[in-house]
Amino acid sequence: MGIEQSQAAVSLEADVLVIGGGPSGVWAALSAANEGARVVLADKGFCGSSGATAPSGTGVWYVQPDAQLRYEAKMSRYEMGGRLAEDSWMNRVLDKAFERMHNLADWGYPFPVDETGKQVVRGLQGPEYMKLMRKLALKAKVKILDHSPALELLADDHGVGGARGVRTQSGEPWEVRAGAVVIATGGCAFLSKALGCNVLTGDGYLLAAEAGAEMSGMEFSNAYAISPSFSSVTKTAYYRYASFYYEDGTIVEGAGSQRGRSVIARNLLQGRQVYARLDQAPEDIIPRLRVGQTNFFLPFDRHGIDPFKDLFPVTLRLEGTVRGTGGIHIVDENCATIVPGLYAAGDAATRELICGGFTGGGSHNAAWAMSSGSFSGRGAAEYALALGVNATNRNLRGLSSTPLVDRGAASHAAKTAERVQEIKDVTHPYDRNLFRTESVLDDSLNRLDALWKDIRETPVARDGQAYKARESAAMTATTRWMYHSAKRRTETRGMHKRVDYPALDAGQRFRLISSGLDDIKVRTAKVAEEVVLV
């Protein structure tokens, strides 16, 4: 086969292509541009509003470089995460996030000022943060392609060399040839409508796996967030002030935001609606809470509910690997994968290195996005710039595992909707994913095998809706890595709960690396550090 001629309406050459325009993607783009690389960033939606961060407020794992404070910060999730985090990674991430937060202050983020007029670095408000990040990317001459989902990576025998897709608003094909690619597509929340998460369908996991990359920690993929049952707002921090009730007003014993979500889930599974009320919040902090997370109150205000005084029904929405910690396995300090030229950042990459098997939600993921974005962007730029003359005239081919055919071929939209429903049916239910047993995992995997085979054989027409078929493929592949890993880990560790193995097994302090598309393989890998934080 000769060099494929590009038919793309948008055909670009770059040193680094970043796929995904949330915080980690933009940090990667900025860091690559800072090394002198020509950078293109392609987002499935709109860089600035896409992803879990933009519509949210987020704390940041921002800790002063004081030995005691840093020690406490590192220990805060170490045991809960099943001792799978690594000291050296936590140090690097704390250092880089600290630096990046001060960059944000210098570059225009409107932090509050104290009585002396000095800016005080605090948590970030998503809309403001991502509006600034887009502005910074444009200023750094990053070429942004909005509404441009990637359908497949391009590669040759030397490694990854770009990607191509179809722009959803114009239906035009796009192609970017690049010396290195950073996957920054976020995690996978299985279209659960968790806030901002419906664009997070594991697309980058699939792209990376098709190039031969591995996943790590995919068993840590069953994060569920509390939200009012009618609402998408899955901000759970304030539920620390909640009491939980049945319809008759009696208290739900043991229910809580931190460790009591299982109690809520078991009630919901039995068909008993659970209600919440933030009645443990002291009166005097309410104004501060209202300012701290504006969007938390939005659904209540619009429904005329006072969450401090009124009961409201709650549900648990799946946040999968967005607040879970599994993702693409990275093999060095530049967040490289095992595939030459391919890097991973943000929630697309595993976050076990800083929070083990406990949630990355609330602050850790935000710090990880800044730091892994920075590491991968720089690493990708160095790699691409070192290619020199070898970067051009590459014999690149598309890597999609599902056949991509010319537009105009039969549409499978109805079929895609059916598949999406099946994916939701095997991932959302608490008795399939939150509480795991071998027999149910086997049942789900059988259904997923059938689904994968079907997806694998159905051609996808390269049109503006092609990305939806690819999302269903990505979510199916993601679930297969999750459940194969969950089956292999015959213990309860971090967020991974095996009802048939309810205790932690000290002999299983290892990582689970999953890979493959048709045949899923799971292997163990040692946690790099035997002794951490003595």
Binding site: K44, F46, G51, P112, R122, Q125, P127, N198, G292
Partner: protein, 106 residues
């Protein structure tokens, strides 16, 4: 979900068409944008926040479309309320600078 594009307020800037991460709107030549794929709305409120004239309303219900009457919402002060709280728009201060932010996010 997104329920309203106000005919009386919309200035056809089509910013909502651009910023919607799930591509819910379609641009219409010589007219206001339409809500073309409401089922794809993820209720993230970003379109409403970016609308420079408060012509959009996202109902807080993520699971079902609910009937929303523009004049009623307007009289209850709900249209544009999120943008006002975030502090976007001329003459407003971003909420990120609010003195109560000094106490931290929680």
């Amino acid at each position: 979900m997104i329920e309203i594009v106000s005919e009386s307020k919309c200035i056809q800037c089509n910013l909502c068409v651009s910023v919607c991460p799930t591509n819910v709107f379609d641009r219409v030549d010589g007219n206001i944008p339409v809500i073309a794929r409401q089922d794809d709305c993820q209720t993230c409120f970003m379109c409403e926040l970016y609308c420079p004239v408060d012509a959009l309303y996202v109902a807080p219900d993520a699971e079902a479309s609910v009937i929303a009457a523009e004049d009623d919402l307007e009289s209850r002060g709900l249209i544009g309320s999120y943008r006002e709280k975030i502090g976007w728009g001329p003459g407003r201060t971003p909420i990120t600078k609010h003195p109560l932010m000094l106490a931290g996010n929680n």
